[in-house]
Amino acid sequence: MAVAAETIITAIHGDRVSLLRVLGPAHVWALGVGIVLVGEFTGWNFSADKGGALAALIVCWVVGLLYTSVAMIDSEVTSTVAAAGGQYAQAKHIVGPLMAFNVALFLVFAYTMLEVSDAILLGDTIVAKAGVEGLTHNSFIAATIVVLAWLNYRGVLMTLNVNFVITAIAYVSIVILFFSVSPWTQGAVLKLNELVTPGNALPYGWIGVIAAFQFGIWYYLGIEGTTQAAEEVRSPARSLPYGTMAGMITLLIAAAMTWYVCASLMPWEYLGITYYPLWDAGKLTGSALLENLLFIATLLAALASANGCINDAARAWFSLGRDRYLPTWFSAVHPKYRTPYRSILFLLPIALAFAFIADLNQAITFSILSGVLQYTFMSINIMMFRKKWPLGTIRRGYTHPFHPLPAIVLFCLCVVTFFAIFLGFGSQLIAMTIFYFLISLWFHFYRYRYVRRGDQFTMPWPKPQGY
């Protein structure tokens, strides 16, 4: 990728030192797919645990619809509200400060816990491969988080160039695996008919399909992170919709190939609990080359995801500081590297701490919970956006079709996913929602006093209708 490191100083909030506009559509694709692709290497398969192999396929497509709605809605709003913080900046301009504060926390929690999951996956994969007794994953987890934080500290262009390369390698490995197992022939390597039978396809019935929505989210969780780079892309109106939609298409193809190969190679009970479904699939083909390729690809996917998550979580946190929602100390931009370095450093020990105290599916569930809360907001946000600024009243970089159908579909699927989380993880959902409620009270009744009112609205738009 030839990307000219041009510098465009943005004057948002009067910052003297601002983020650099150096990214193109390929970086947006790399940021979105890089964060998400690890979901094909681990996590999605827990949906088979909750509902069986066929349930995992059904949710792959239905949740794909949810995320297509997310991508469509997000592309419209972000191509119009092009500011760091992504959905946070959207909420601030469309719904209000308290919602923006919550959305930023959803983003930080979703991405930090995803980063934690990635680091755990990477550590566990290396330990499993080494097969050395007494070797623990702790040092690998710590090294991953610290090195990637350093990379993010040094600059966004280098970070996302690295992501583009490792994401592409990980993606190609899935394609190689798919074509290496003769997907057009059953019986030779793949044995779908014998592994997914009428008797075990839906072991829990249709309630299992609904329950599987929870981990079906993991096929695509994080694609909306492309919007975090809004202040660092050279042409947000073009790059963000293009990169996000290209990312969704890429992921839908990868998810379908992953399900087909894995469900055709291992029983659903094992598929539902393994931490490395694609690496296991490589092993079960009997090819040492494929086994090693998928091992490396699992590590690269985890690295790419953690890398993108640090990038996104830090920008959401940075935005909170810049608007005084949190102490302004967090809003500093590094004078040389032009990155939100204090936010990157602040989130580093939090990620490290949880990587050591949570296990993989707990960390994944924390991330999913924050993600679904955010998608619920997005479905309402787009309705408010169209109502306050109808088409034609402001310049939109992209206008998504079929409104309000994507918003209604997204909202309904979020409700189903909340019910899915209730089926097995309900206590965790209640505990996290109570946390968000209490921290909202803290913000609304105490912290908001430090926020400048009119300065929060930075877009050159007319007054919203109805106000």
């Binding site: 592994l195 079960l284 924390f366 619920t376 609304h444």
Partner: protein, 125 residues
């Protein structure tokens, strides 16, 4: 409308707020782990006869389990560790009430704050 001037926050206040946020994050994420509220609600339906047939595995499935290094005995706890989807209505109602209450509060309080923002932003012009 008069322009709102926020109070300046001193260093000690900023540090205090950072500590509050850090503590809140750790409590929110760590407490469910500590109290056992995080993780899947599953339990093992134990079988007396630990054979591939009793575990519902056909010869193809059994051969894959063996390729992965499992015997019927070691695979038993994986295969029989199941979710039991019984809808606990009181918990479901509490969960729905918490979620709806949270979102209603969010939108109403946000709207109050938003009106101030819009008034100050556009009444200045």
């Amino acid at each position: 409308m008069s322009r709102y001037t926020p109070p300046e926050q001193g260093k000690a206040g900023q540090i205090f707020d950072i500590v509050v946020v850090v503590v809140a994050i750790f409590v929110a994420l760590w407490l469910p782990l500590k109290l056992g509220l995080a993780g899947a609600a599953k339990s093992i339906d134990a079988l007396d006869a630990k054979t591939w047939e009793a575990l519902g595995q056909n010869p193809t499935m059994a051969s894959i389990w063996e390729k992965l290094g499992y015997t019927p005995e070691t695979a038993h706890d994986i295969i029989q560790n199941r979710f039991h989807y019984i809808i606990d209505w009181p918990t479901l109602i509490i969960m729905a009430a918490v979620l709806i209450g949270y979102f209603v509060f969010l939108f109403r309080a946000s709207d109050r704050e938003y009106r101030d923002v819009i008034n100050e932003k556009f009444d200045d012009k």
